[in-house]
């Protein structure tokens, strides 16, 4: 876009490399330290480990319930995302396609949630979950994450629906298909790019959330990764080899996942802001 001479280009390239190093370095230190013993980390922070062993990974995996944390994080993300996709796309379809009294008002009511940070309402949510006896269950998380994702997802999907031509539905309507079938069979497939954005956006939000598990989950076997890590840091505060091992276990899979899907990730996260 900009036309620059080669000197300018090299300066920019150097600055980009510097910033890239700032990004990579902490993660690199984390990765290498995961192979060291606590003593090595303390006394020889820059050296490579004397022996490259997976000891700290294995130990961290065993002393903490990481298999359960991963399982819970995956389940919570999947269930919440499926629920969000389903209820938001249905709602968005109705809001985008049909005219009925109060349509505009309902739409504004829902997108007002874009700016109501859910955690500010935590006390009543906590009381509500308690009255349902859902404390210390993953259901509590499904509910709050689904609720918290509806506004953004509906907003995005309504916009998208408005760009899908209505003509496509006419043929189906003549065939006598019901509203739900038209939505399900005709619109949903066309909505795929938008659904991907919604999925990624909510995945990052749910996967990384710490606050709600902190409030709702007690039992170790029901913890998600961020809460599990927090607990781990409290318990093994001095065993830095284990701490780095645990951080690696928590971080590396998500980075790999991101590298595979980086285009979708970036679109999913930036779309909301510039849309």
């Amino acid at each position: 876009m900009l036309k620059l001479n080669s000197l300018q280009k090299s300066i920019i390239l150097i600055l980009l490399v510097v910033w890239a190093l700032v990004n990579i370095f902490p993660l690199g230190v984390m990765f290498i330290s995961g192979f060291k013993t606590t003593r090595e980390i303390f006394m020889d922070p820059f050296g490579l480990p004397k022996k490259w062993t997976f000891n700290s990974y294995v130990k961290a995996w065993h002393v903490a319930n990481f298999a359960a944390y991963f399982k819970n994080s995956i389940i919570v993300s999947l269930v919440s995302i499926v629920l969000i996709l389903f209820v938001s796309s249905m709602g968005a379809y109705v809001l985008a396609r049909f005219d009925f009294p109060g349509r505009r008002l309902i739409y504004l009511y829902i997108i007002a949630g874009l700016v109501l940070p859910v955690r500010l309402a935590i006390i009543p949510i906590f009381l509500l979950i308690r009255s349902f006896r859902l404390n210390d269950t993953l259901f509590a998380l499904f509910l709050v994450y689904t609720a918290g994702g509806i506004s953004f997802s509906t907003f995005l999907l309504v916009n998208f629906f408005e760009n899908i031509p209505v003509d496509l539905e006419d043929a189906a309507r003549i065939d006598g298909a019901g509203v739900f079938r038209i939505y399900w069979q005709i619109n949903l497939p066309l909505l795929r790019p938008a659904l991907a954005t919604v999925t990624i956006f909510n995945f990052i939000r749910v996967w990384n959330d710490f606050f709600f598990p902190l409030i709702f989950i007690d039992t170790d076997a029901k913890k998600t990764i961020p809460l599990g890590i927090q607990n781990f840091f409290g318990e093994f505060d001095i065993q830095w080899d284990l701490l780095f091992g645990a951080l690696n276990i928590a971080i590396i899979p998500i980075i790999i996942f991101f590298l595979i899907l980086s285009r979708q990730f970036i679109a999913g996260l930036t779309e909301g802001a510039i849309k």
Partner: protein, 424 residues
Amino acid sequence: MKKLVIIVLSLLILVGSFTFAGGKQEKATTGQVTVKFWGWRAQDEAVWKKVQAALQAQGKNIVIDYSTIKPTEYDSKLSLSLQGGTGPDLFLTRRLPGKRTQGLIDAGYIQALDGIVDFSHFTPTTLGFIQSGGKTWGVPFANQIVGIFYNKDIFDKYGLTEPATWGELLDICKKLKSNGVTPFMVPGKSAWALAMQHAMVGVSFPGEEWIGKVIRGETNFMDPKFIELNRMLNDLKVYYQKDFMANDTTDMSAGFAMGQAAMVFYGIWGGTRWKELNPDFHYGYFPVPPKTAKEKPHVYVYMDGSYGLNKASKNKEAAIEILKFTATPEYGKIFSETTGEMTALKDAELPKDNPILLEGYKYANTIASKYIYWVGSPFQKGNPTVYEILREGMQAMYLDKITPEELAKRVQDGISSWYKPLQK
């Protein structure tokens, strides 16, 4: 999109395999009861393994699922989970008087244990720290003794001996510093440990009699002696490690055990940690020395806390079995042997191979201060407590935000706002 579908499918398979792997471990034998137990003490993990074995040897099929929560986050997490109607069956509670435990009692989350557990193996003083409203709210576990712990190898190397006065302590610091050794490792980031440091020095200077006078209202915290105490502490910080305000107790333990400093102000419970970090570590203990040789040193001894029972527990029967066991001398022995701390049980057999522990008992029985401020004192009963004021106040003084006089004034103003004897 296709990629996304493939990934979702592989995640599902992964979940399946985790479930399978988890399923194998969690398989419970019939009739087995798992009791959920929360505490802030990581060193107790081994204690509960032994208790579980002892109970199972008695034919009681109970599994103790003990989990540790960081001490500074413990109280909010516990209260949150009890409020949520779930919570652990058993949990550690802080001593009384204190808002944290009293709050849980008032809200009806803790079950009183009178008539359920036999408390005959505890002294009335010990039990007094977990009683309120005429009821006993937990089974006490330990009496703690705090003071100065030192690295024996470093002391030997420079020909140093345990000091008898504050002046001698300063001489030791000077000598160490001139030899490039950090005299003290202090956890400035752990505000509670600073409050504790203040309180443990306070029993030796101005001393227990003076504290008794404050409690009775015969003097107050603006007394020049109290200001002098603040100043002594503030002047001592030149002998702390560099940037000590950024270190917490974890760093302190690591630094002390790895020989990076000669002394710490801490409690007897730190020992397990230090030995774990460095099995060859040799350390000793001495009470904080008084100002002059004319005065006697005193030690700060306090009941640490107790095991409480969740009123809403679904495994009450098994939980009570555990509590009953923790009130027997047999448990006291297990506890002291495993943690190296002083069990709260009065007639437990003492481990012979732990000199520090035996020394602790000796001091606790001879020179324990009769009057104290900080935890377990009358200054904890109102709002704000002396603990709260000292926590932030000590950090502020060490950071040069306030002077020793201002710290004294903060304590005086805060306590006299509700403590009748000081309102004159």
